[in-house]
């Protein structure tokens, strides 16, 4: 079993997984992590867990508490930076990363994450410089991948290719670099090379649906629709919302002469394209109006509608961070938990709703149903009685309550 400090280190790394607390910089400078008391360590660990489950309010509260206990600890602003980055508050994230670096000049991952925020803000040249700072402090393949992607955006493909090669020289199992190479080679017109690189990525990350999709799409492009079919069908099953997969499936079927099936698949692809267009618009709105809870909530609802539950949860939780009093979003989160078949989380979400608004009969009704589903019959009875307290004529609650009464 891993020790909490090791887990903490792994989780704090985020995009960079540096475990050691002491390392030597390029100029022989020693960068030593100061000691951390167990309670602070636990708080940061819990904050990281909260971040992973998109519980941003909780994550920030825990990180604030950790800071109160141990001011001057670079881990605190670094983690806060990651939370802000998830909340699309890039400027605040950058400020936190820089605080971490002020406290610990070679803090593992800080320059890299600054590079990531610059990249997201389309400041590609600056991102490249920041990634190089990370490499100077902490050699790792990931900043090289960041550099490569930035060069791709700037149209400097030779430099991008070099950077991908450097990433892979440091870690040949780095699937994301292989995949980045595949995209670049495809852009450069080397579809065979792209296919090979995408397959290489799949070797190291075989369950990655994005990689599987691209292998399928490259096969279609290379005039090998028969080989692409099974792969694309399997991706479509896992990602029924993915427009590109359905489009390429239609193309593969068409080229195999299965015209009727191709037409049906293309119809589905068109529907998904319309939905994706709406999502793209909402994503852009949420990015530009990142402080507007409704923008994130609208995005969450659209993502939920197409079945992208994890992305939907992220958007809802950003919305709730910005406006914790919005019960409708709480309700959407609870429903989303149900859709993800996580009854326990759904119960917790409805409990939160009735804590905020104890007079909400709909929340009580759903909560009662979830208690009943999880065999908590007393809880169910209590919840449905609450429904009748605030909505005496509610026939559904009455019927449910009656079903709890043993037949004599």
């Amino acid at each position: 079993m891993l020790r909490p400090s090791v887990i903490l280190s792994l989780l704090l790394g985020g995009l960079l997984l540096f475990g050691a607390c002491t390392r030597t910089g390029p100029q022989g400078e020693t960068d030593t992590a100061p000691p951390m008391d167990p309670t602070t360590e636990r708080m940061l660990y819990q904050s990281t867990q909260a971040l992973q489950s998109h519980a941003f309010v909780q994550a920030l509260a825990l990180v604030d508490s950790a800071e109160a206990r141990a001011p001057g600890l670079a881990d605190v602003p670094f983690l806060r930076g990651r939370i802000y980055a998830e909340l699309v508050r890039l400027k605040e994230a950058e400020a936190e990363y820089r605080k971490a670096l002020a406290l610990r000049p070679n803090y593992p991952g800080a320059w890299n994450n600054l590079g990531n925020t610059a990249f997201r803000d389309q400041r590609y040249s600056e991102a490249i410089q920041l990634y190089h700072r990370e490499l100077a402090a902490n050699p790792d393949p990931r900043p090289w991948r960041g550099i490569a992607r930035a060069y791709v955006e700037l149209g400097k493909t030779d430099s991008a290719r070099f950077a991908f090669e450097r990433a892979l020289a440091l870690d040949e199992t780095f699937a994301e670099a292989h995949f980045g190479q595949a995209l670049l080679l495809d852009d450069l017109g080397d579809a065979e090379g792209a296919l090979k690189a995408a397959r290489e990525a799949l070797t190291y990350d075989p369950d990655n649906l994005e990689y599987q999709y691209h292998v399928g799409a490259y096969l279609v492009k290379l005039g090998r629709p028969g080989e692409a079919l099974a792969l694309l069908e399997s991706v479509a099953e896992a990602w029924p919302w993915h427009q590109g997969t359905h489009y390429n499936l239609a193309q593969a079927l068409m080229r195999l002469g299965r015209t009727d099936e191709a037409e049906a698949m293309q119809t589905r692809a068109e529907q998904l394209r319309d939905l994706q267009a709406q999502i793209s618009h909402l994503e852009n709105t949420a990015r530009v109006q990142h402080r507007d809870p409704f923008a994130h909530a609208a995005l969450g609802s659209m993502l939920r509608r197409v079945g992208r539950y994890n992305d939907a949860m992220h958007a809802y939780m950003v919305s709730l961070y910005l406006d914790p009093s919005n019960l409708e979003v709480y309700n959407n989160v609870a429903v989303l938990h149900l859709l993800r078949q996580d009854t326990t989380a759904a119960i917790r979400a409805f409990e939160q709703i009735v804590q905020v608004d104890a007079t909400n009969p709909h929340a009580w009704l759903n909560l009662g149903s979830l208690y009943a589903l999880s065999d908590q019959l007393d809880g169910a009875k209590y919840a449905w009685e609450k429904v009748l307290e605030y909505d005496p004529g509610n026939e559904v609650a009455s019927r449910y309550l009656a079903s709890l009464t043993p037949v004599p």
Partner: protein
């Protein structure tokens, strides 16, 4: 004045078709060394033109799209004249006098142009003008003009060099709409050219939306926010009027947001098929049913989207046979961060995406292409690709690193093996906010020159200084077919190699190019033979033709009138 001579149907005195030619690589190298485009706007007398958007700070969507222009020989003297759309102002938001919707410049035959707008009856026309196309729609021997606008479109009938506006009485005004590019072609091969008019979105000052760039800067909106308006198709009744056959011909159900269209006979059945570029909507492929009606089959054919099934911002468009497969390849200009689309027909109505493989994709990824056309820039016999670029957001330089408002053009030279190389340099590579783009041999020296309009800016005329004279140019005059020979296929054979050309309007963006077709001969001394497939179904064959001449071929006649190129601009032997 250049002389002309009448030649027999077979011209073989200057050599035999089997004479050796130099290898393509040497040829290409030589062509590259001498291929230069020089901006001659000022010396041509075009420096006074400015496109007017009427912008007053509210960033109204149509302001970002104009302007159009191109080449039309309005006075039938054999020298291509220049027509430009002036744009417009917003009546309630400007104290300035309304601008001329059209500007016409007569080619003086000495490299200069004189504005004759008022003189020919085109003065005092006030509309928010955008695109232009031209054809002899009434088969009376002169070029008529069709102008697209934000509002009712305008048809100017040319009667011996004087124009009268007849859009409403001819039935092509179309009511209030935001029309873009337009194209005359003979959809049903009845000898009268029909008209396809692209429409964009349902925008009016009243339903204008406020858009912000990165949430900070007032910017021009993108078309996703507005409803698309389908194109209109007008059937030529042959009596000077048109009937709206949009529904009857199969064009009624369409996403709209159209910015360009191009015709070619994809499946070789003798009937014109149609490609349509749409902004943020799927591009369209209309296959002619063989009776002047069409069936759209773009999505399944593989040309409607990018390789991930995503619709792009289709702008200018062209299609032609660019390699030795003999199959047409489609080119579509797109937004920045979207490659120029390149789709080669692989038979059975299916296309393969060759954007990246052709080496056009990557170099075009960061530019926003509007005008785009195929032409033989270096006269080596194959089509090259010109793309006029320019962004729509004036502040884009501040918000997106690597993307500029004024951009260099692309000149992709065909390497003959399905690959292209961007060789834009010199004047052609100077950044501008490019929009409409057209070509013609305005100085009649046998090579093709370029005209490009700028949004809210000047026009640019780039003279091709190749000056090899190694081409044969063909001008068609239909008799049973439409007078311009539109939709005719002209096959030229050079050193045994077939070169396919179509006589067309349309293509590019808001623009009209010359209707003559040009066969670059490379190092070959002459064109082996020439076959014209007229839209009427007639086929005329002509024998070998020496380089350095423009031929006028009349449908049904085996005799060609040959006019030598303007030798004043050719280098001494």
């Amino acid at each position: 004045m250049v002389g002309s001579m009448v030649l027999g149907g077979l011209f073989t005195a200057c050599g035999t078709p089997d004479e050796p030619v130099e290898s393509p690589s040497t040829e290409q190298e030589e062509a590259l060394q001498s291929l230069t485009f020089t901006e001659v706007t000022e010396e041509a007398g075009l420096e006074g033109f400015r496109h007017t958007t009427g912008a007053f700070g509210n960033r109204w969507f149509p302001e970002s799209m104009g302007s159009g222009g191109g080449f039309v020989d309005f006075d039938d003297d054999g020298w291509p004249d220049i027509v430009l759309t002036g744009g417009g102002t917003w009546p309630d938001h400007s104290d300035a006098a309304p601008v001329e919707a059209l500007h016409l410049y007569r080619n003086n035959g000495d490299g200069t142009f004189d504005e004759v707008t008022a003189e020919v009856g085109l003065g005092g026309i006030h509309a928010y003008s955008l695109g232009v196309t031209a054809a002899d729609y009434d088969n009376d021997g002169d070029q008529d003009l069709f102008i697209t606008t934000l509002g009712e479109n305008l048809l100017f009938r040319n009667d011996g060099g004087r124009f009268s506006e007849v859009g409403t009485e001819a039935g092509v005004a179309g009511g209030f709409s935001w029309s873009t590019s337009a194209m005359f072609f003979d959809a049903d091969r009845d000898g009268h050219v029909d008209l396809y008019v692209g429409n964009y979105v349902d925008w009016t000052p009243e339903n204008d939306l406020i858009c912000m760039l990165e949430g900070m800067i007032r910017s021009y909106c993108t078309p996703e926010l507005y409803e698309g308006v389908p194109a209109r198709f007008y059937h030529n009744n042959g009596d000077g009027t048109f009937s709206d056959w949009t529904d009857r011909a199969g064009f009624a159900v369409a996403p709209g947001k159209t910015l360009g269209m191009a015709e070619i006979d994809v499946n070789g059945d003798g009937w014109s098929d149609l490609f349509v570029a749409n902004d943020t909507q799927r591009d369209l492929f209309y296959l002619n049913n063989g009776d002047g009606t069409f069936k759209e089959q773009g999505a399944l054919s593989g040309m409607a989207y990018d390789e991930n099934g995503k619709a792009r911002a289709g702008m200018g468009i062209d299609v032609g046979v660019v390699d030795e497969t003999g199959e047409p390849t489609l080119f579509v200009g797109n937004f920045s961060k979207e490659m120029i689309g390149v789709f080669r027909h692989i038979g059975n109505g299916l296309f393969v995406d060759r954007a990246a493989a052709s080496q056009i994709g990557r170099p075009s990824l960061l530019t926003l292409t509007f005008g785009l056309f195929l032409f033989d820039a270096d006269l080596d016999g194959d089509f090259d690709l010109y793309a006029a670029n320019g962004h729509v957001q004036p502040e884009i330089d501040e918000t997106q690193e690597g993307i500029d408002y004024a951009e260099s053009a692309h000149l992709f030279l065909n390497q003959r093996d399905g690959l292209f190389e961007d060789v834009a340099a010199g004047d052609l590579a100077k950044p501008i906010v490019g929009r409409g783009a057209a070509y013609a041999d305005y100085d009649r020296d046998g090579d093709l020159d370029i005209l490009v309009t700028e949004n809210s800016g000047p026009v640019h005329l780039y003279r091709n200084d190749l000056d090899t004279g190694r081409s044969v140019r063909v001008h068609l005059e239909g008799t049973a077919s439409n007078r311009d020979g539109l939709s005719a296929r002209v096959m030229g054979y050079v050193a045994g190699k077939p070169l396919t050309r179509y006589v067309r309007t349309g293509s590019s963006f808001l623009a009209v190019s010359e209707k003559e077709v040009t066969f670059g001969l490379g190092q070959a001394p002459y064109l082996d033979s020439l076959v014209v497939y007229w839209p009427s179904g007639a086929v005329n064959r002509h024998g070998a033709q020496e380089a350095g001449f423009q031929l006028t071929l009349t449908e049904g006649e085996s005799i060609a009138e040959a006019t030598p190129f303007n030798t004043l601009s050719l280098p001494p032997n």
